[in-house]
Amino acid sequence: MKDFRIEREARGAIQFVRLSGSLDMYSFPRLETQLNALFQQAQYRIILDCADLDYIGSAGLGALIGFAKQAREHQGDVKLLRVPERILKIIELLGFTKVLQVFPDEAAALAAFGSS
């Protein structure tokens, strides 16, 4: 099991947050802290790059929904990028794609922000 890691990079008005390892109940508070810190800085346009994520738990998914809703209240969003197939299947199975937007590539995710 890989350790959970977060890397942040600002690209203009959009914050890229790269996630790797397992996003479980144990590691989720670290992401929560990062997202809360961004919100406090009025950064509500966030792309979570999940390419190296190997697991996400049910509570983590639920909390991401909360963050996405919160960001939308401020004309932003939390969008998911390059979600591995096995995690994407879970998100789709639970019907969470109604709230969490998932993009296969960076250009599509950026374009979605551009048009919002």
């Binding site: 099991m1 397992s22 479980d24 109940m25 144990y26 697991y55 738990g57 049910s58 509570a59 998914l61 639920g62 909390a63 929904i65 909360g66 809703k69 879970i90 199975l93 639970l94 019907g95 969470f96 709230v99």
Partner: protein
């Protein structure tokens, strides 16, 4: 006999006790067979449950909610109990964070406490069908999974009121889905 590299939920009933070993992760993907098996054990009069987390690499909130449901049921029945043994610091922390250490008897030692059957040897356990998430033979059903997740998170909230806020976004989303489904069913002839 269980192979050394097997992953999933292993069970071993012994008289009035049920021993469960979680090997790998306990997640919403293998919570359903566990929930069914626990329910069946309760129906057969088993009231002592020992859950060994020695080989457990982590648990998600749905899995923990299923364990909470068992604890709540036994508390209601005013008999028996759930002992969690071999809880490594990480799993112990999770159980404490969700307040489950007040509902379940949690220990980081290997042996179950008190009277009753001792922990059976590893080769006495059988793999619970559909509990190895890497080798599921049928895809998870969306509605069943959503119902299970909702029930599990409601259990967590019943076990400790502080969990309501932690999982409010998830439970809201799941409840909305259940409601939509019920309305759709009503609308059908």
């Amino acid at each position: 006999m269980i192979e050394a590299n097997i992953k999933g939920i292993l069970v071993c009933p012994a008289q009035d006790s049920l021993f469960v070993r979680v090997v790998g992760r306990g997640t919403f993907q293998n919570s359903r067979p566990l929930r069914s098996y626990l329910q069946e054990a309760l129906n057969q009069g088993i009231v002592r449950f020992v859950i060994d987390l020695g080989a457990c690499q982590g648990m998600d909130s749905t899995f923990l909610g299923v364990l909470a449901g068992l604890g709540l049921r036994l508390r209601q029945m005013k008999g028996g109990g759930v002992q969690i043994v071999n809880a490594a610091p990480r799993n112990l922390d999770l159980l404490q964070t969700l307040g489950l250490d007040r509902l379940l008897e949690v220990s980081s030692t290997a042996a179950p406490a008190g009277p009753g059957q001792p922990m059976p040897p590893a080769n006495a356990f059988q793999l619970l069908s559909e509990s190895d998430v890497e080798a599921l033979t049928r895809p998870l059903d969306r509605d069943e999974t959503a119902d299970l997740m909702l029930e599990a998170h409601e259990n967590l909230q019943k076990a400790d009121g502080r969990n309501a806020q932690k999982f409010q976004d998830l439970t809201q989303m799941l409840r909305a889905g259940v409601q939509r489904r019920q309305e759709k069913a009503k609308g059908q002839p």
